[in-house]
Structures are given as C-alpha cells and as structure tokens.
C-alpha cells in the first residue's frame, strides 16, 4: 500500500528508507525529508503538558496531488513516515494506523536484538520482509 516507508531517528537522520522500486526514489526521499518539518510542528503543537497523552499516530501530514504522507512518532522520537498513493482511496485511516502499528512492533523487535546498536541503519531481514509485505500489498 505504501509506496515509500521511512524510519527516521530522533536526530532526524534516516535509519531505514525504502521506496517502491518502480518510482523515482529521490522524489520520495525529498518528500520524507520535507515531511519531517510537519512532524516536528505537530509534535511541538501538542505541548509538553500533553506529552503522555500525545497520540503516536499523527495522521495525514500533508497531501500532494499524487501522494499522501502519513506520520507516526514513537515515545523516543523515532518517526515513521509513510507515503501512499493518492489514487488508493480505499485506504482507511484505520488501516494506516494498523500499518504503523506493525511498523512499530517490528521496530521494537529490531531494538530488542542485542546485536543492534541504536542509531545504526536497520538491516534486519525480518523488518525488511515486513516492510516489503506492506508495500506489495498495495501495488
């Protein structure tokens, strides 16, 4: 469903970014990069008081004519950004949420691996498989 999925670290560098192979990857990289501003804006808008109540799912970050960008932030400020095709109107908000939840779970599994150093690029095969399944689903 997604055409591009990215995991951004707290310091705003990518830990993992994968696009559907047919597309122009650079364009997606740029979209993800620009979406980070929107993410930060949404996070700061919540205010410190709401830190605990802040919802992890940010929803639609911004739409373009071809794509929609959704965001999700974890409590450790790791961001997941997902770019989906606008033509795919069947995608409901709840489905996007479930996809982010899957991402989050897989990310947690990667973190639990003692051989993974936080801050490294994510090279886990299981994570890759999960992301692939999400991307293929749509196409």
């Amino acid at each position: 469903m997604a055409v591009c999925i990215a995991v951004i670290a707290k310091e705003n560098y990518p830990l993992y970014i994968r696009s559907a192979p047919t597309e122009n990857e650079l364009k997606f990289h740029h979209m993800v990069h620009t979406s980070l501003d929107v993410v930060d804006e949404k996070i700061s808008a919540m205010g410190k008081a709401l830190l605990d109540q802040r919802e992890l799912y940010l929803g639609l970050l911004y739409p373009t004519e071809d794509y929609k960008v959704y965001g999700y932030v974890t409590n450790s400020k790791v961001k997941f950004v997902m770019v989906v095709d606008s033509s795919n109107t069947a995608l409901r908000d709840n489905e996007i949420r479930s996809m982010f939840r899957k991402l989050h779970n897989s990310y947690t599994d990667v973190m639990c691996n003692p051989f993974y150093n936080p801050g490294d690029r994510i090279q886990s095969r299981a994570f890759d498989n999960m992301v692939t399944s999400m991307m293929i689903q749509v196409c």
Partner: protein, 705 residues
C-alpha cells in the same frame, strides 16, 4: 634407541596418538593393531612402514613401547616429508612437520597435526577450534562427557583421520574441540577456542588446507566420501555406524577440499531431505549447549539476557549482521532474552554458520523452542500456527503485533477466537468434582439467586451451564420445599438442567456438610467469584453444575440459610424480578470481579498468575458479550476446578501455564483486533473530516503552498 628430542607440539601430538593407540590403557605398550592402522593411515608404502617399525625397535621388541611409538611417529614424519629413513634422521631433521595420517578416523588427527604443525595454516580456519572428533571408538566407549573425551580428543586429533567422521563424533567433537582449544593454546589453537564448536564441516575443509602439503591423497576418494561424511555428520544419530574408516575422504589438497565442500553442501541438502533434518541438534550437541548455557546462567529455566548473549556469540567471530539475524531467528518470543531452547537454537545456528551453512530465513522446526514440555512437539507445531497467522517466526508472536491480522479478518476471527477459547478452556479445567461442587454450591447459594430460569439462551452451552447453575441456585435460594418447587419451575424452561439433577439426586450426601461450611465461609466471595471467565469449561461446568445441583437440592432441603430465604422470597414472585436482580448482581460481581479475581487468584492453590490471567482475559472477552453471568459462573467453576488439578502434577501445571500463555496471546490478538475495530468505528467521522479538509486544500492548491 637414540635419544629422541621432540618439540612441544610434537610431544603433545605423539602423546595423543599414543593414547589413541593405547586402547588397553596400559600407558606403556601400544597395541600393535592400532599402530599398524595408524601407519597404514600414514599412507606410506608398506615397506617403509616395515622399515620404520624395524628402526624404532618394535620389531625387535615385538611391541610398541612409548619410546618406540614416538620414534616410529617421528620416522613417519620423516618419511612423509620425503627424507630417507635413518635412525639419525629422527633427530637431525629439523622442523619436521608432524606425521600425517590419513585414515578415516585420522582425519581429525591430520587436521590436528596440521594445526599443530602450522599455526598460520590454520589461522583462519575452524579446524583448530574444532579438533578432530574424538576417536570414534573412544567416543562410543567413553562417556559423552567432555572431560573424559578431552584427552581422547587430543589423541584422536592426532590420529590421522579422514574428514569423514561419523555423525556421532561430530557433535561431541565440536564441543570438545571448543574446550580443547580453550585448554590447549598450543599452536594457534588459542584463538580458536571461541571460534565455535563447529561440527567438522569447515574444520575439515580447513584442516585439509593445512595439511595439504603432507597429506597423502587417497586417490579417487576425495569428493564423495567427504560429502558422505558431511552428510552423515549432519545426520547426526543414524549414521553413527559410519564411523569406521571412510576412505580417505577429503584430506586432500585444498582444491579437493573446495570441491568437496561445494559438493558436500549440495550433497547435504540433497540428502537432508532423505536423512534427518540437518538442523537437528544431537544429544551431544545439546549437552554441550546446555553446559555452555550453564556457564552463563546456572539456572536452566532462567534467561540469558541479551547483553550476555551478545558477548558470548560475538566471540564466535561471525559478522554482526549474521549474529543479528541468528538472534532474530532464535529469540522466539522476542523478549530480548534467551531461554535454554532459544539458546540452543542460536548456538546451533552459529555452529552451522561457521561450518558454511547458510542461515535459513525461518527458524527450522527442529530448532524451535518448545514452549511446553519437550514431549509436546504438537504444541511446538501448533505454536507458530496458533500464535501467528503467518508462518514466519518473526511474526510468530501475535501478541507483539496484535494489529497484524488485517482488519478485514477481525470480526470473524474475533468471534471464532472467542469460541475457540471457549473450547480450549475447558480442557485443563477438568477438576476434582468435590471441590468444584463445594465451590459451586457456594456460588449458587449467594450468587445466582436471581438467575433467570426463563431466559435460557439456548445458543451457547454456557447458557446451559448457566441454567444448570440457575436451577441449582434457584433451588438453593428456595431452601426447602420452596426451593424444590422453584427448582421444578425453573427446571422446566431449560430442558437440560432438570436432567442431570435427578440423575444426581442420589449424589454425594457427603458433600453436604462440606458444602454447608463452604457456603457459609465462601458466600462473601462466591458472588465475586462468579464473574469469572465466562468461557471457561462450559461443558465441565455443565457436569459440575449438574452434580452440584443435586447437592444443593439436598442441602437446601436440609438446611435453611437466611440468605436463601430472602432470596427465595425475592425469586418467588416473578422470574423477571429474579432476572433483574441476577443481572444487577452479576454486574456487581463483574465490577467486583476484577479486583476479586485478583485476590482470588492468589488465594487458591492454583498458580496465581494462571487463574488471574484467565479471569482477566475472560472478563475482557465477556465484556463485549451479553451473557455475563453465565460465563462468570462458568469461569468461576473453571477456576475452582483448575485449583485442585494444579497441585496434581508439575508437568500438567507447566503445560497448563503454557497453554494459558497461548490462550492469553490469542486473547491479546483478539482484543487488539477488537480494539482496532472499535477505533475504526470511532474514527469514521474523523476520517470524513480529514477527507473534507483534503478536498478543501486541493481546491486551494496555491494558498496551501
């Protein structure tokens, strides 16, 4: 005999060989047969062998003493190096490589020899680490214990051995190898200790490269035998009989080795399908892994934390990426720690990888940690099926990713799962009737006064049990004759309850006093207990209730309880009233249920977490459902039932715990899906709003930018 000066390596090697030949453990004299075997394995022409024997004095003496043996070995080395055989040559030839013997058993030795002779050769190889498998005979003879095998291992190592090693030897070898290396820092082995107790595979290859120079090539045997050996090794148990001499397999030059290893891998794969699973852990391997586990974590039921495991496996010098993948495969429950099974699986994967096997994408079945008792292979098989709706082990624990099943599947699965859990629960809950009766009696007394006899929801079996309960409780409440009548009245609408009652009427009078006491003491708790898991043991409750109904009847008749009387009266007027009261009561119970359940959980003999979990789980499940009270009573009975069973056997306990873990996970999945569905329902409006906003923005493209 001339004085023989041996280097340290040579000394060790020779002493190992001597012990190998010294099957009679005389420590003085070596059996001629063995020695001859050894010499044959040295691949020297017979006349050379005879010459050697003559030179060393064995022919003269008629046996091989230690010195003769050593001299003979030295001469073998001399001969293999191409030097003329002279008595003087044993001392004059400097830097003589260790004699290499190529017999099947001797491969290890040759490898070992190679390792001894040249550190550099074996630098990168595991061969050093994985010393040749202990002499087959010795392994078989001796214990599997590492200690006893250790000296043998060294002896074996020195024996020229073909790479083909019976599978039996392979597993023990690796651990031995590991240990051996850790103990013998000789000749470059010191670095190998942690290289991993690889089975022979790579060591073989390595050894051969090391021994390429001196090893005689057993013509025509190179590739196939190693492969077979390889395979047999992989096939762990069955081919142990292959121990005996394999024709000089591999041993040959590096080229042969590489060919062999390549073909071997193919062979293995081909044969693995026909033989045992190459991922199977042999007993010796498992024992070794368990011992290693103990060094890190003495409690076999405990966990190895991730950091400790990381250190341990890092020593194996595999790349971090592969170790990370191995971890992903082996940490089945994704908790960041390794149980014994997970550790064994990980270790086995490390060993396999070191020997050139590619890591699988999924955890092989034989390596899957058995969450339940080892005998429960069925459970293991079920585990991935139950736990995850996908086959991949990474996805196996659904509790971790409750949202995984697609939303589309949520509803049907939800229903099914709840029904499934209903079915599953009863199984472990069969318990001693007496206690159940007792508790049910209490329950019925206090709780189900107002259960609705007329609303027999015939849909679910829980209803039936509920009805039974109701009937019994009604009778209870009614006390004497009134109760009887009510019981009769109540009995009518639900067809089922009356049946068991009459049959059980003659039932245990013995229960009465017990029940009475129980009733009094437990009345306060029983209503709280009622809102137990609804799905539990519906069927068992049925029986129980039937039995308890009878008891209750009798008790009612015999005793008058004040609570019963007022209940009676309340119930007398109208069933509807009863129903209302029952409902309110159940709801109260539900409210009280959660805290009570927790407290109740600790009270009974049953392992606290188990019943608590069940209750909570069932409660959760029940909430969306209508039939609370039936389920609760059912659950209560189930819980109570479980209590007596628990002390029965630890094994059942463990199974029950694990079964409950599984159930909990399933419940988690169900609940998560339910949650997502509810969220979806909640968010529909929000979605509309977003879409409207989007449309608005689309209509104003420039203003947004």
């Amino acid at each position: 005999m001339e004085g023989l000066t041996l280097s340290d390596a040579e000394q060790k090697y020779y002493s190992d060989l001597f012990s190998y030949c010294d099957i009679e453990s005389t420590k003085k004299v070596v059996v001629n047969g063995r020695v001859l075997e050894l010499f044959r394995a040295a691949q020297l022409p017979n006349d050379v062998v005879l010459q050697i024997m003559e030179l060393c004095g064995a022919t003269r003496l008629g046996y091989f003493g230690r010195s003769q043996f050593y001299i003979a070995l030295k001469l073998v080395a001399v001969a293999q190096s191409g030097f003329p055989l002279r008595v003087e040559s044993i001392n004059t030839v400097k830097d003589l490589p260790l004699p290499r013997f190529v017999a099947s058993k001797n491969e290890q030795e040759s490898r070992h020899a190679a390792s001894y002779s040249s550190d550099s050769e074996n630098q990168g190889s595991y061969s050093g680490v994985i010393p040749p498998p202990p002499g087959r005979g010795q392994v078989k003879k001796g214990s599997v214990s590492h200690d006893t095998v250790q000296p043998r291992t060294s002896a074996d190592a020195q024996e020229p051995a073909s790479p083909v090693v019976s599978p039996q030897q392979s597993p023990p070898t690796s651990p031995h190898t590991w240990r051996k290396h850790s103990r013998h820092p000789s000749g470059g082995n010191s670095e190998r200790p942690l290289a991993g107790p690889g089975p022979f595979w790579s060591p073989f290859g390595e050894a051969q490269s090391g021994s390429s120079a001196g090893d005689a090539v057993w013509s025509g045997h190179s590739p196939p035998p190693p492969q077979e050996n390889w395979v047999s090794f992989a096939d762990t148990p069955p081919t142990s009989t292959l121990l005996t001499m394999h024709p000089a397999s591999v041993q040959d030059q590096t080229t042969v080795r590489t060919v062999a290893s390549a073909t071997t891998a193919i062979e293995i794969r081909r044969q693995s399908s026909s033989y045992d699973d190459p991922w199977k852990i042999t007993d010796e391997q498992r024992q070794y892994y368990v011992n290693q586990f103990k060094t890190i974590q003495p409690d076999l039921n405990g966990f190895i934390p991730g950091s400790a495991a990381k250190e341990f496996f890092t020593k194996s010098k595999l790349p971090i990426l592969e170790l990370s993948h191995i971890w992903e495969l082996s940490d089945f429950d994704k908790d960041g720690a390794l149980t014994l099974d997970e550790f064994c699986a990980a270790f086995h994967l490390v060993v396999a990888r070191k020997n050139g096997y590619d890591l699988p994408e999924k955890l092989p079945e034989s390596l899957m940690p058995k969450l339940i008792d080892l005998e429960d292979s069925a459970d293991v098989g079920d585990q991935p099926g139950e736990v995850g709706y996908s086959g991949s082990p990474a996805e196996a624990p659904p509790s971790k990713s409750p949202s995984m099943p697609s939303l589309n599947q949520t509803w049907p699965e939800l229903n099914q799962s709840s029904e499934d859990t209903a079915i599953v629960h009863p199984v472990p809950i069969r318990m001693t009737p007496s206690k159940i009766h007792m508790q049910e009696m209490e329950l019925k007394r206090t709780g189900s006064d107002h259960t609705n006899p007329t609303s027999p929801l015939l849909v679910k079996p829980s209803d039936l049990s509920e009805e039974n309960k109701i009937n019994s409780s009604v009778k209870f409440a009614s006390g004497n004759t009134v109760g009887q009548q009510q019981a009769g009245v109540v009995a009518h609408p639900p067809a089922v309850p009356p049946r068991p009652q009459p049959s059980q009427a003659p039932g245990p009078a013995v229960h009465r006093p017990v029940d009475a006491d129980g009733l009094i003491t437990h009345t306060s708790t029983s209503p709280q207990q009622i809102p137990e898991q609804p799905n539990f043991a519906d069927f068992s409750q049925f029986e129980v209730f039937a039995a308890s109904n009878v008891n209750e009847e009798q008790d009612d008749e015999a005793e008058k309880h004040p609570e019963v009387l007022p209940a009676e009266k309340a119930s007398d007027p109208a069933n509807s009233l009863r129903v209302a009261k029952a409902d309110s009561k159940t709801e109260e119970k539900t409210a009280a249920g959660a805290p009570t359940n927790v407290s109740k959980g600790t009270a009974p003999l049953a392992p606290p977490p188990k019943p608590v979990r069940r209750r909570l789980k069932s409660e959760d499940e029940l909430r969306p459902e209508v039939d609370e009270h039936t389920q609760k009573t059912g659950v209560l009975a189930a819980v109570l039932a479980s209590q007596p069973s628990i002390p029965r056997s630890v094994g059942k306990d463990k199974k029950a715990i694990q079964a409950s873990i599984r159930r909990n996970k399933e419940t988690n999945t169900v609940l998560a899906r339910l949650n997502s569905e509810l969220q979806q329902q909640l968010k529909d409006v929000l979605e509309e709003r977003i879409s409207l906003e989007v449309q608005l923005e689309q209509l104003r493209p420039f203003s947004h930018l």
